[in-house]
Amino acid sequence: MGANTENTIEKNSRTNIGSIIRSNTVVMLFVLAGVIVIFTAINPSFLTTQNIINILNASVIIGLLSIGQTFLIIAGHIDLSCGSIAALSGAIMAYIMRETGIAWPTAFLLAFLFAVLVGIINAVLVNVFELQPFIATLAMMSVCKGATYLLCEGKAIQIADKAFLKISAISLAYIPLPVIIMVVMFLVFGFILARTVFGRMVYMIGGNVSAARLAGIKPKRVSTILYIISAGASAVAGALYCSRMFSALPGAASGAEFDAITAVVLGGVAFIGGKGNMAGCFVGLIIIQFFSNGLVLSNMDAFWQVIAKGLLLIAALVFDFVRRKRFESRL
């Protein structure tokens, strides 16, 4: 093989603009633009700075959950208990503060550690007892939900710590602190996924777990860390929710795992694993949030929103299927 060919291969091997333009994230950006245009036409107050900030603020809980789900789904796993872990860790935090009167950082740390423990249990169910992630975390979802209601005795636990309640009220340059926390976490975890050895291992075990193992990757170790990341991010989401609501609510973040998974799939993360990225997940998150908010501003009945979200998830999955078929037929 001559030097000339080698140079061509090298040139071709550099990232080419074409593949970026054809990528799913860019397609989704067009969808997002479409959503914005339609809802602005229906109600001009949709595209105002204040409304955009409101939408971002409302997306924090789901956004944090979707970070963990992006990692897990790329690795071929899933965590349906993330919403319930958020609710439970929020309740634990509020309960500790009410009962002992200690300051929020300690209470948060304890709740966070508890969430990590739940994440480890999820990982043990999946890796040691070899349960399907879907079923194992579905069971865990029920356990955490029940535990939250028990702890709350069915009512809200009020939070008195002023410093804690301020977290969700502070804004930097008009941007609420929770939004900043979410964006920073997206950037940090996006970097981990895209650029680190650990992130690469996530893609490899999602793409072919046997091949990854025979190449020296430890799939069980990687997925255990992912369940812990998911649970930890859920604990942060639960705390921010409590801060916004001034209390822990037994029904907090109910159905949030559904929205998070919808955002991830809309963002182009393949459900069978191995494909997707954090930027896509963020775009998916923004689409689903703009969509819900747009429906509200269009005076749509709240129950229609639930149906619309379900349809959105179906549309995302069908889109994923069509893309796959097109890829296969090219072979």
């Binding site: 093989m1 080698e6 291969i9 893609y203 490899m204 793409g207 072919n208 091949a211 025979l214 190449a215």
Partner: protein, 494 residues
């Protein structure tokens, strides 16, 4: 019964930018076995897919018994008596042999309740035609690979297919199993069925086929009677050049270094008391029937399967291997038997499939250095002659031979002492095979100890310096290359 036949007339097929088939015309008669021979990418599988209704031809027509056919779906082809037996078996392993033979055609009464007695009896009748030692009520997962393939064939018999095509049927069978398969094929031929037979293994063609259709680059090169053909001539026709005896050109090392891998009495559920020593520069073959424990031995050494007893030494020092990661750290690399299921992350680029085993070498503090990773993959592409226009090409789009080279290339940066190759030449064409032989010899010359497993005896006999023969999970003998012959290996294996 009038004679059955299939006739292809000027078949052409294009995929985006590639001409897969061009003007292919030949006739396959009932009562004969017609071989389709050619390297990978020659168009044999594409032709079968057109006949089975999976693809439609862009040009030309095909006729069955004089009637022009245009199958749009595989169901239509099956209804018209065409069955293809693929390499990947399409069986439901949890179900019984009878259920698999009948599939959606299980006999039932008017209420839709399945008549199992009738189904089992009919399935047993078909099994008995071929004198197979299985029962219609056995679960498919309990059968050997060969018998699973027989179930696939019996499905075709049950459908009363008159045209049966085999796509590389012997790829995962041992010698005895191949003989069973051939007697089944012979039986079908004598019944007057049209048999199409795709294989890379030249020797088999002389055993079972009557006519050979040689293809190259999507076109038909020649059609000849098997009795008139010679192995040498067939190779020349399919490769388009005379490659002579590829084994003679191997430039092997004159002597070995010291022991690099010592295996002492290792055992687990599949293997017992395996001991051997591998030296630097040595190519050690592991031979035996499929299922004798060849892959199980190397999987245990590599930490892919649990080890219950025994000891493994690298450079004279005992090492503890609990996982593939430990094995790689100790300097052992594995190219697994099943490229697609265990070797590659198919929908990923060549680049990540090469860096996967040595991510530590292309990263700093856990962050991947994109340039270092790209350079590593380009180095492997050049060193192993992987045919691609870019390191970003997905490995699923590569041919089998190039996929295998990607797996080999994965160890380019690793500081290996031992490289294990499990069936590296399975299902790849003659040209790529000869390249891989040279790579193996080259790696051994550079000081690596190489373990080589293959089901093709000529390969083992010619590539390896020493051969271990295994039988039922135990070593049944060791042969040096000078003393080894096919007969000796087979005697030890059976």
């Amino acid at each position: 019964m009038e004679q059955q036949y299939v006739e292809f007339k000027g078949i052409g097929k294009r995929f985006i930018g590639v001409r897969a088939l061009h003007d292919v015309s030949f006739r396959a008669n009932g009562g004969e076995v017609t071989a389709l021979l050619g390297e990978n990418g020659a168009g044999k599988s594409t032709l079968l897919k057109i006949l089975s209704g999976a693809y439609t031809a862009d040009e030309g027509v095909y006729e069955i018994n004089g009637a022009e056919k245009h199958f749009a779906t595989t169901q239509e082809a099956i209804a018209d008596g065409v069955s293809i037996i693929y390499q990947e078996r399409q069986l439901v392993k949890e179900l019984t042999v009878a259920e698999n033979i009948f599939m959606n055609m299980l006999p039932s009464n008017r209420l839709g309740v399945i008549d199992y007695a009738a189904a089992n009896a009919e399935a047993q009748r078909i099994i008995d035609i071929f004198r197979l030692p299985i029962r219609s009520t056995d679960r498919v997962k309990e059968l050997s690979v060969a018998h699973q393939q027989m179930v696939e064939i019996m499905k075709a018999v049950r459908r009363e297919s008159n045209i049966i095509a085999f796509d590389e049927p012997t790829a995962s069978l041992s010698e005895t199993e191949i003989n069973t398969l051939f007697s089944v094929i012979g039986h079908l031929r004598d019944e007057g069925k049209v048999i199409l037979y795709v294989s890379h293994r030249l020797k088999e063609l002389f055993q079972i086929t009557d006519k050979i259709v040689v293809m190259k680059d999507g076109a038909l090169v020649d059609t000849l009677k098997t009795s008139d053909a010679s192995e040498k001539e067939l190779i020349r026709l399919m490769v388009g050049r005379d490659i002579g005896d590829i084994f003679h050109h191997l430039d092997r090392a004159a002597s070995f270094g010291g022991p690099v891998l010592e295996v002492r009495n290792i055992s687990n559920d599949n293997i017992s008391d395996i001991s051997f020593t591998l030296h630097k520069g040595e190519v050690l073959g592991i031979s035996g029937l499929v299922g004798a424990g060849r892959s199980e031995i190397v999987r245990a050494i590599f930490g892919a399967d649990k080890l219950q007893r025994g000891e493994i030494l690298i450079d004279g020092k005992p090492v503890k291997i609990g996982s593939p990661a430990d094995a790689i750290r100790a300097g052992i690399g594995l190219c697994p038997e099943d490229r697609k299921d265990e070797g590659l992350v198919l929908e990923n680029p060549i680049r990540t499939n090469i860096s996967i085993a040595t991510l530590g070498l292309v990263s700093k503090m856990g962050v991947i250095d994109t340039k270092m990773e790209r350079d590593m993959s380009l180095k492997a592409i050049a060193a192993y002659n992987i045919k691609t226009h870019s390191a970003e090409k997905q490995v699923i789009e590569l041919s089998g031979g190039n996929q295998q080279k990607v797996i080999l290339g994965r160890w380019i940066g690793a500081d290996l002492k031992v490289l294990i190759l499990d069936e590296p030449t399975k299902g790849i064409d003659v040209g790529a095979k000869s390249e891989i032989y040279n790579m193996i010899i080259g790696l051994a010359k550079s000081g690596l100890g190489v373990i080589f497993i293959s089901s093709e005896l000529p390969e083992v006999l010619n590539i390896c310096d020493n051969i271990i023969v295994v039988k039922e999970g135990r070593v049944s003998g060791t042969l040096a290359r000078e003393d080894a012959s096919e007969e000796k290996v087979l005697t030890l294996a059976m």
